[in-house]
């Protein structure tokens, strides 16, 4: 009996690596700390009522952002471990298998569990405020999306200490990800972690399309809508068309692994290249899903800090819509070397180059917005300006990669690694940082420290160039991705060392940011947080943080940048009679249902049907219980609205 338990434990838990034992201990200590703090201060009820069951888009957004910062930490540690291993030739820091796991989890976490939730967090907090709406179209569904993302992320992260991490790269190409070559649990964690959070992403996409198309405040026609909301719309359209492909692809991979299917296997007539086509039909639009909202943020920031209307509003809208369509026509440029022939490669090379045109239009629009504007250089604007050269270099190397014959040289080299980090870090992550610094006062009602913000900006950028510029050269010198070590004779040592130093600087920059948040939280500078940047759009017309119903009376919009126009006209809010406000009720179903999803995912990973089947039954039961709820909303009485408004006016002026 005892032996059996020991045998089970040695297979169930990941054993034998001191790094992982260290992580086990720190995870256990953190959990104990959280549970004891919550119990000591009797905060369980508060946590459940105010956060876990909330359907308020602002709180859901904040939870998304918190989760993504945690994931940034985990993914960042993975990155630093890899850079440590590559800092010098022939280092014995990480064994090859462990290195494989780390680059896999680094990629998955950074794209799907860091960038996506950071993006959804900003969608959630800002879009309804910009539209003059009181919540998203489907608040319950929104909460469910968040909790599905969260259970998926936790399931994936669990693989680190239980069962073993996946090691087949961030897109898990077969045949290596098939059962024959990869019999462990890691790949199943990968499938179910992404599958569960992917359902959440898909629902968020639907939710925000409906919110944007149907919930705009009176007078806000589509062409008067703020640019960030346009970018969210274009990103969500791409989500809605791309994510079902991911769902199917992972389901097929699971059928191969679990039921012995032959879709992607080498035997039985399967075709691994089918997987690579399908995964990139999702994967390429995914990149644009991430970067389009960042473009929206740049547009908002450029206009606000230049005190000018955005240059070329219409061309910006068209450029975004074109990108979200053409992004579906470029997937095969990820595998020009597959051998599909010159015609196919030529088509995908051209469609890839075509995408550079609308992207270039945007860059010129931002530059012309700043041209002859009264530009000021607060942190959000610093990020915005820093991004332009950085992202342009990333984009240009992308055009180099799109030249199909040349790509046979660049393919899977560090040139590619440097390129996609440059568009994803300098485009997406820095863009979301700009957004976070810009909207922070609106989110939390206090300001961040400008000096620490500047320090973080310079450290991030310096670290970035130091880390990735040498990698372009390394790629041209023949260093391929996913190598875990290299010899002294290659001549790659110096560049790799510089690259590692850059990575450490970015790690330091992250610490400065966390420090900035802690410092500003202590200082609590609430002065002038309602509209600290003298900005242009509706979210700045209400107190910070916004009351739970957002707008006491819905604003009437007449112009683009309506709030700016109103300020120019010296407008003051007319005294209108308040009405009771229609709001959704909190619900515990989303978190419970996501827990059931987690159990079914976990059960399927370990082939424990006794857990998976009750898990799915629980999911269905939750859906039925929700379907029978005919009273999901309530009315906030006028007296309460008056009380909240008065308190908010006292709080932030």
């Amino acid at each position: 009996m005892w032996d059996k338990a020991k045998e089970f434990a040695s297979e169930f838990f990941v054993t034998g690596d001191p790094l992982i034992y260290g992580a086990d201990v720190s995870i256990a200590l953190t959990l104990i700390a959280i549970v004891s703090v919550l119990t000591y201060y009797k905060k369980w009820g508060w946590l459940w009522r105010e956060w876990l069951t909330t359907v308020d888009h602002k709180r859901i957004g904040i939870m998304y952002i918190l989760a993504s910062v945690l994931m940034l930490f985990r993914g960042g540690v993975d990155a630093l471990l890899m850079r440590a291993q590559l800092a010098m030739p022939e280092l014995q820091f990480l064994p090859a298998e462990h290195y494989n796991q780390i680059f896999t989890t680094h990629g998955v976490i950074m794209i799907l569990f860091m960038a996506m939730p950071l993006m959804f967090g900003l969608f959630n907090v800002i879009v309804p405020l910009q539209l003059g709406a009181r919540d998203v179209a489907f608040p319950f569904l929104n909460s469910l999306s968040f909790w599905l993302f969260f259970s998926g992320a936790m399931l994936f992260n669990l693989s680190f200490v239980i069962g073993g991490s996946p090691d087949a790269g961030w897109l898990a190409y077969p045949p290596y990800s098939d059962k024959t070559f990869n019999p462990g649990y890691g790949q199943d964690f990968y499938i179910w972690g992404i599958q569960i959070s992917g359902i959440g992403s898909l629902m968020t996409g639907i939710n925000f399309i409906v919110t944007i198309l149907k919930m705009r405040t009176p007078g806000m026609t589509l062409m008067k809508m703020p640019m960030f909301s346009w970018s969210v719309l274009s990103s969500c359209i791409a989500i809605v068309f791309a994510f079902p492909i991911l769902t199917v692809t992972l389901a097929l991979l699971f059928i191969d692994r679990y039921l012995g299917g032959h879709i992607f296997t080498l035997d039985g007539g399967g075709n691994p290249m089918m997987y690579i086509n399908l995964i990139w039909m999702w994967g390429h639009p995914e990149v644009y899903i991430l970067v389009l909202p960042a473009f929206g943020i740049f547009s908002e920031v450029a206009a606000t800090f230049s005190k000018k209307k955005l240059f070329g509003y219409k061309s910006m809208v068209f450029a975004m819509m074109i990108i979200s369509v053409v992004s579906f026509l470029t997937w095969a440029h990820h595998f020009f070397t597959m051998g599909s022939g010159a015609d196919v490669n030529a088509f995908f090379a051209l469609s890839t180059m075509v995408i550079a045109i609308p992207t270039g239009v945007k860059v010129f629009n931002w530059l012309f917005t700043m041209f002859r504007g009264k530009v000021t250089f607060e942190t959000p604007m610093l990020w915005m300006i820093g991004i332009i050269p950085n992202f342009v270099i990333g984009g240009m190397t992308g055009v180099l990669l799109s030249v199909a014959p040349a790509d046979f040289q660049y393919h899977n080299s560090y040139f590619l690694i440097a390129h996609f980090h440059q568009v994803i870090i300098a485009g997406v992550v820095f863009g979301f940082f700009a957004g976070l610094y810009y909207w922070w006062p609106k989110l939390f009602g206090f300001k961040l420290n400008e000096r620490l913000g500047r320090l973080a900006f310079w450290l991030w950028n310096l670290g970035f160039y130091l880390c990735f510029m040498p990698q372009y050269a390394l790629g041209l010198m023949g260093m391929t991705r996913r190598v875990y070590t290299y010899g002294w004779d290659k001549g790659w040592f110096e560049m790799n060392l510089v690259s590692t130093i850059g990575a450490v600087l970015m790690g330091a920059a992250f610490i400065v940011q966390v420090w900035d948040i802690a410092h500003s939280l202590k200082k609590m500078d609430r002065e002038g947080t309602q509209d600290p940047w003298n900005a242009r759009t509706l979210e700045w017309s209400i107190p910070s943080p916004a009351p739970f119903y957002n707008f006491a009376t819905l604003p009437q919009v007449t112009h683009q940048d309506d709030w700016w126009e109103k300020k120019q006209r010296g407008w003051s809010a007319p005294a209108v009679e308040l009405e009771p406000i229609h709001m959704p009720k909190n619900s515990g179903i989303p978190i419970i249902m996501s827990m059931f999803w987690f159990f079914s995912g976990f059960g399927l990973v370990f082939d424990w049907l006794w857990l998976a089947v009750p898990g799915f039954v629980g999911v269905l039961a939750c859906m039925i219980v929700h379907s029978f709820n005919y009273k999901p909303d309530y009315y906030v009485p006028v007296e309460e609205v008056q009380r909240v408004e008065a308190a908010a006016r006292r709080g932030s002026k």
Binding site: K214, T247, G261, G269
Partner: protein, 203 residues
Amino acid sequence: MAQTHSNAEHHGHGHEHPDQEEMRTFAFWIYLMTDVILFATLFATYIVLQGNTDGGPGPKDIFQMNGIYASTFILLTSSFTSGLALLAMHKGNRLALMNWLWVTIFLGASFLFLEVNEFMHMVHEGATISTSAFLTAFYTLVGTHGLHVALGLGWMIILIIQIAKHGITPVTKRKVNIVSLFWHFLDIVWIFVFTIVYLLGVK
């Protein structure tokens, strides 16, 4: 209003907030678009892999077209009866609405019964999901459609209970509307399954 629900009760001063039921119907259309992509991906996979039988049975060896004609006829009829349910709803006839939904459920269940039978027969013949790429793609595509039908059946049963409880209200009306959209959609997908998988398979 005789049948009230929390949205309609306050319609007097709720004029500026968007109509919830209309938004839900719109969202369901978008959901259907995602389902189109889902099936399109499965169809593409099936078309790519249909010739890869790995020496095992091919479409001509295992498809029994008589059963397929019957189940196609049954499913198309169920689409018609779900339309009759909708007509009854618009006339305000609750009993007829519930009865037509029951008829639709009965037909849908018969379709599923035939499909399960077909699958069991094939497995019995030795054509299982792990026999060849063709069969994995076949079972996945047709099985996903079947799973949708099964969920639709459960959904309609739950809806009948709600109609019995609340009557025909704006909420139950919207729910019947979207379940019938779902049902017609599954019918259209089946027409593609019938043509691409079965008719072209045995040609």
